[in-house]
Amino acid sequence: MRDTWEARDIARVAVFAAIIVVLGLVGPIPVPGLVPITAQTLGVMLAGVVLGAKRGGAAVLIVFALVAIGLPMLSGGRGGLGVFVGPTAGYLIGWLPAAVVAGLVAHAGARRLSWWRVALGAVVGGIGCAYACGIPGVALATGIPLPEAALSALAFLPGDAIKAVVATLLAVSLYRAYPPAFPRAVRRERVAR
């Protein structure tokens, strides 16, 4: 089946990219460290589980583009090409598979949204994929062996676990408040208005 993008899809991708950016502004203050702890990862998880793999991934790519062209769109007002070549670039790049996988796990084959699929998507995508890119990224940039780099990722685990829980609660709540937010495939049993 060919997936056609209508004007509304473009608008949703743009709006979700904007949400990820705005979460960087209002989110918790980034603690000093190699990689900031940021509410933007919550936005990445939500982009995937709400819009689905393709549109959610596209929203993340738009954020990358905004950062790359020199706008301060990451938490703490950072941006520019520097963040793509620094030691934390792997984590940032990891946002893309994070949103895609979160969307795939949450939606693939589902006829309606279930909380456990969303939770699984948030954990496997939002935590698993982000770390799978981020840890080798740190290792590659610094020359630190992989196991040690993996150890340093533990600093994010409590925060990211909370974000996965929050993303699940928010997505389920959004499903009740505004089912049209989700692709038609996962709300077949609902009356669409």
Partner: protein, 225 residues
Amino acid sequence: MIRASGVGVAIDGTRILDDVTVSVPQPRVAVIGANGSGKSTFARTLNGLIAPTEGALEVAGIDVVREPKSARGAVGFLFSNPDAQILMPTPAEDIALSLKAAGVPRALRAERAIEALRGYGLAEHAHQPAYSLSGGQKQLLALAAVLVRRPRVLVADEPTTLLDLGNARMIGDLLTGGVAEQVVLVTHDLELAARCDVCLRFDGGRLVQAGEPSEVIAAYRAEFA
């Protein structure tokens, strides 16, 4: 009773409200004026959402500058965009949220919420997603969520925007029908303004006229004749 003396608001060095001095004892107050004249800014100072950077302001006997928190408890605020003020997925939950803030025990909230919704003809929509309500129904719900806390003063910023004649009348009737000791209506709808007891006109951040609505509205219309 609103008592403002020398009230001013400056944001980042620009003065967007300037030296507002007025005493308003009337129960129904209209606020009119051009876009950007400072109406919404004035309205927001009344319940402490914006703190005046100078002057003294008293609403319902509360010093808003010193006690913004109790001002927010006594002064309800209705915004024009219902989408931004309906905070929960369904009408029943939204009203229950207000009841929670008012200290109503959990066990009573659900029932009291339905009761409140019934008063606005919304009981049958209590558990349906709020987004699917019509514009008028959303505005009613937002009003219900504010009034369920029984504020002594109600400030409404353009409450009849996008409503049809019937809905605008209904909301207008409610707002001018004694829902609180004092009601302040910020509006571009001059028919609504005419139904108040006193009218304040703002221009360029200043209060330029306060008096009989018919006169103030006539002066405002004359500006553009």
